[in-house]
Amino acid sequence: MAIMRYAEALNAALREEMGRDPRVFMFGEDIGRYGGVFKVSRGLMDEFGEGRIRDTPISEQALTAMAVSAAMTGTRPILEIMYADFVPLCMDALVNQASVFGYLWEGQIEIPFVLRTQGGGGVGTGAQHAKSLDVFLAHIPGIKVVAPVTPADAKGMLKAAIRDPQPVIFLEHKLLYNTRGEVANEEDVLVPLGKARVAISGTDISIFASSKMVVEAEAAAKLLAKDGIGAEVIDLRTLRPLDLSAIKASIAKTHHAVVVNEGWNFCGYVSELSATIMDHCFDDLDAPVSRVAMPDMPIPYSEPLEAAVIPNASRIAEAARRTLA
């Protein structure tokens, strides 16, 4: 084990997987010489050369479509999209190409590519550089979507994503890159996709979150503990396919649920979580599910305005108290 930053854990995963499989290559804007604007690919161009680590023009739509078809024909592309806010430019390739052909041509082709991107707000990047569009991606059949919060999961899940036969969207958060944690050094430690993790166990209420919202949920659990409330924090880790057994097990224990996502509320990822819990855990619930999400409006720039919209620990704790009241 070693202590690593989240960005370093991703870098290690990329280096190891590129070293073990010559079919893996990476492309994206400013990822080569500069090492990526969040430094995730630092040093990789020197190690693997300009053929396998490619700086690209600003061409998200074509890049994503090319990742899909390159994956169909024998490579394992990793595409970095600098901000999740640019994912709408990638949508046709995901919705009308990757999703569709994975089904229609099943048995003839596989589409093993990874699209890495990062979202989230809190640092004044404004309405076009701070969104969480998880739900846009998790809505698409045939595509996996993961959003790990710890450096260990970042590494283990990126490795699993690169080896996965399906398209995987790998969601990072700009405020997680510098967070530290223990990470396995061994090359064969993979964290399976599709499995949630109990971040904090508790018996009174379940809080379901992913990515940076897990950090906020953990802080909320500390606030609630002061009032004698034992909150269980479930780190979903994978948004699609969703780990239903983990959700059921937690609610069977706590009978209350708060669902959290940094994206918008209406038709949001929180809506899906809430509906899934209603569908599968209704008999175990003692109160309606509470949603904590971004208000349904663009993200403002000015500090007091941005702070008012981003979901945080106190809003999560408040929702938990309301649910238990």
Binding site: Y34, S59, A62, T125, S302, P304, A308
Partner: protein, 322 residues
């Protein structure tokens, strides 16, 4: 010279370029002291493109710019105090603190607006030109965009339609040699991007982007053409980005050897030299002094302005309840 700026216009271009440069320098200082939020994209060295380009338009013409648009904001005649207030997140800013430095909009000067989705301003200007054509108005629209933006798919789609329908639009490509951190040759197999105009049936030309007179003339000629219903023009202004990509840029990829010749060709210095010949160096110095007073006042006022109070944006809401 056809379509050349008058002496008065050249003086005003000079003044606005100094305002822009000092805006960038003071913001840079505030950013170093941790007093700004988010990245700032400075346009030092590129002032001639945005300022002279906008000065060649009329007040009611539209302009769209990018994440690096301070010269366009000032060039189109926006108030520096309210620009600074927006960048500092204040209620008195052009978007009441909602937008920040990349997303300013001011419908009163036709500057709609800054845009941080690379390439988005190109079809935006084409759409404004479409509106002008449909409404038979005496106006033009201009997109100021980068060499990086020129590589987007949407640039091709928008320019094709602009050529096809002879839209009254000017594509002012501000080639500062870099995308974010990568040089233009990593993004395009050809050095001159204006040659693409041929594929859209519009004139394409290259100008010295550090020469205010050259930029002004090219845009004025393109605007006249658009007003005659002769369609769009692609102008590539060659310039250079002196201060890196943004204040959060770690740098290291622009060498001193590469930058030095451009420093010698500073657009403000060149403009001062040209102007001195006609109005004398004292009058040129007075322009700079007055601009300094104005920019200092803009910062002093804006920094004393209040922050906005959060309100939910009702039109964005997802429910009605009667």
């Amino acid at each position: 010279m056809q379509n050349a700026p008058s002496i008065e216009e050249q003086m005003e271009i000079h003044r606005r370029m100094i305002l822009t440069r000092r805006l960038e320098e003071i913001l840079g200082g505030l950013a170093k002291d941790g007093k700004t939020r988010g990245p700032l994209h400075r346009c030092d060295g590129q002032e001639a493109v945005g300022v002279a380009g906008c000065m060649a338009l009329r007040a009611n013409d539209y302009v769209c710019t990018t994440h690096r648009g301070h010269h366009v904001y000032v060039g189109k005649g926006m108030d520096p105090r309210r620009i600074v207030a927006e960048i500092m997140g204040r209620e008195t800013g052009y978007c009441r603190g909602r937008g920040g430095h990349m997303l300013l909009g001011d419908a009163s000067t036709g500057m709609i607006g800054g845009n941080a989705i690379v390439g988005a301003g190109i079809p935006a200007a084409a759409g404004m030109a479409l509106s002008i054509q449909v409404m038979k108005e005496d106006r033009v629209a201009m997109a100021v965009f980068g060499d990086g933006a020129a590589q987007t798919g949407i640039a091709h789609e928008a320019m094709n339609m602009a050529g096809l329908w002879k839209l009254p639009v000017i594509f002012l490509l501000e080639n500062n040699q870099y995308g974010l951190t990568v040089r233009q040759e990593v993004q395009s197999p050809v050095e001159d991007l204006f040659i693409r105009a041929a594929g859209y049936g519009m004139p394409g030309l290259k100008v010295d982007g550090n020469d205010v007179v050259a930029v002004y003339q090219a845009v004025a000629e393109a605007a006249a053409r658009a007003r005659r219903n002769d369609g769009p023009t692609l102008i590539e202004a060659k310039t250079y980005r002196m201060q890196g990509f943004s204040t959060s840029d770690m740098g290291g990829y622009q060498s001193e050897a590469e930058m030095a010749p451009w420093r010698d060709r500073d657009p403000i210095r060149l403009s001062a030299e040209t102007l001195s010949k006609s109005i004398g160096s004292e009058a040129v110095a007075e322009i700079a002094e007055a601009a300094e007073v104005e920019i200092q006042a803009a910062f002093a006022l804006a920094l004393a302005d209040p922050f906005p109070v959060f309100e939910f944006h009702r039109p964005s809401g997802a429910y009605t309840e009667v």
